[in-house]
């Protein structure tokens, strides 16, 4: 029973890992930029959420209504004001720029919020649970967060494959020059894509801040998880990210069940196994 419990917890946590990875994959997919500051976007969102919940006395889940648009606006502004200058066929300038942003963000965070470790407090909701069958129960909160994460990914997929905006995103991703000659404002497209990525990262940041503690320097570890999810799931597929997240979550949960110290290592080992055996990812879409 404890193994099934661990499996369920892992699956639920995996939905949030997928959310954390989706923004990273999106930015890479459309602009060929590896956003090294993605982890800091996640952490910053958690800190901002704690500020808002403290100031207004509201639940972190409710604070998301405020934080998501705020982070989306920050993403749009950052992309148009700064990162767009580094978008070109050579991925290195953008990589270095976002790496610099990551270090700046860590230092700004530690100055503003101190190095203390924190956690988002959701009140009595944190301990509420549902009994699925004798011996197996799931937390109401993890279940709700998982549902929201999956809903967000389904919305992202719908936006990309069912709307005119998504069509413009995909066209820009394939050939930005030709997209420009079709009248698309690619700078604006890049801004919108980063806005969406930041909003997804913000949601992941809030959920991860509820799950586990965070501090100004935990961004890189969040980034590693996001990378691993993308590599496991396969680049360029939103549902692949969901599967990748769940595989990582389950690996960690089962590892922790064997020995609590194995939690992180088990995830890394599965990631390495995928890199060795199927480097294109388990759910990569065939590109012809």
């Amino acid at each position: 029973m404890i193994w099934i419990n661990a499996l369920v917890q892992g699956l639920l946590l995996g939905g949030i890992y997928a959310l954390a990875a989706a923004g990273l994959a999106l930015v890479f997919g459309v602009m060929r930029i590896i956003n090294m500051a993605h982890g800091e976007v996640i952490v910053l969102s958690a800190f901002l959420t704690q500020m808002v919940t403290g100031a207004l006395g509201i639940n972190p889940m409710l604070a998301a209504v405020l934080i998501l648009p705020l982070m989306a606006a920050l993403g749009y502004g950052l992309q148009r004001g700064l990162i767009n200058r580094a978008v070109r066929s050579d991925p290195l300038p953008a990589l270095i720029m976002t790496f610099g942003l990551s270090i700046i963000a860590q230092n700004v965070l530690v100055t503003l919020f101190s190095a203390d470790s924190r956690r988002l407090d959701v009140g009595p909701l944190a301990t509420a649970s549902l009994r699925l069958m004798p011996g197996i129960s799931v937390g109401v909160l993890p279940l709700a967060m998982f549902a929201v994460a999956v809903a967000a990914l389904v919305m992202l997929h719908t936006l990309f494959y069912r709307t005119g905006a998504g069509r413009a995103f995909r066209a820009t991703a394939i050939d930005a020059d030709i997209a420009r000659t079709m009248g698309l404002d690619t700078d604006h497209v890049y801004g919108l894509v980063t806005a969406i990525a930041f909003a997804l990262a913000a949601l992941a940041g809030i959920f991860l801040g509820i799950y586990s503690s965070f501090d100004p320097f935990i961004g890189p570890s969040r980034l590693i998880f996001a990378f691993e999810v993308i590599v496991i799931g396969g680049m360029g597929s939103i549902y692949g990210a969901l599967a990748g997240g769940m595989i990582l979550g389950v690996s960690q949960a089962l590892g922790a069940q064997i020995n609590p110290q194995l939690q992180q290592l088990a995830g890394h080992l599965v990631f390495l196994a995928v890199i060795l055996l199927r480097p294109q990812g388990l759910f990569a879409r065939n590109r012809s």
Partner: protein
Amino acid sequence: MIEPRLAAPRLSVEGLSSFYGSFQALFGLDFDLAPGEVLALIGANGAGKSTLLKTLTGLLKAPPGCIHHNGECLSTRTPATITRAGIAMVPEGRRLFATLTVEENLLIGGHVRRAGVWSLEAVYDLFPALRAKRHQLGPQLSGGQQQMVAIGRALMANPDLLLLDELSLGLAPVVVEEIYRALPRIVGPGISAILVEQDITRALAVSDRYLCLRGGRVVLAGPSAGASTAAIIDAYFGVSA
């Protein structure tokens, strides 16, 4: 902004130079294009034909004041602004959005929503072969059908100036014939075109005037009807008669 003059040419190019970094590819080009007129660009590889088209679409920067379209200065504008003003391109090698369906490619072309006769239906009427393939991806189509999508995609912008770069590239002669048969239904009623074509005979047959480029300069120009192929070939290769 200057009001477009009524009698303004569709396109007016004056002293146009263009650069790739420090390499100069075009040297002071001058030519006009009237509404409904078709201009053929003739020249060897590296003569500057594609560079000229890229400069006209804004993908390459043009010096200020060199390009006027319907009386409005378009140099230094972004490619998106230029497309909205009515210039659309069928790029060399087609460059379809490979992971988008035929119909999605066409819809991207229609993104600027200029008013005009071209719509999805009109494009499918022009190229009936595309209607059945509307939900397939570009790479699943034959080369000729891909070229039809590229043309349709440009038409969806309802341009009044169409830039056609090497329509026959890599296509079988019978397919080239089919594509060119559609041309009179595209250009003519108010739509001008600039056409890059390696086959000089064909270029002259479908155009009103021609411009022969060599080394980024105009070396010969004139009306296509009655043009001397021999003189053009001499200009093309730089052999003095």
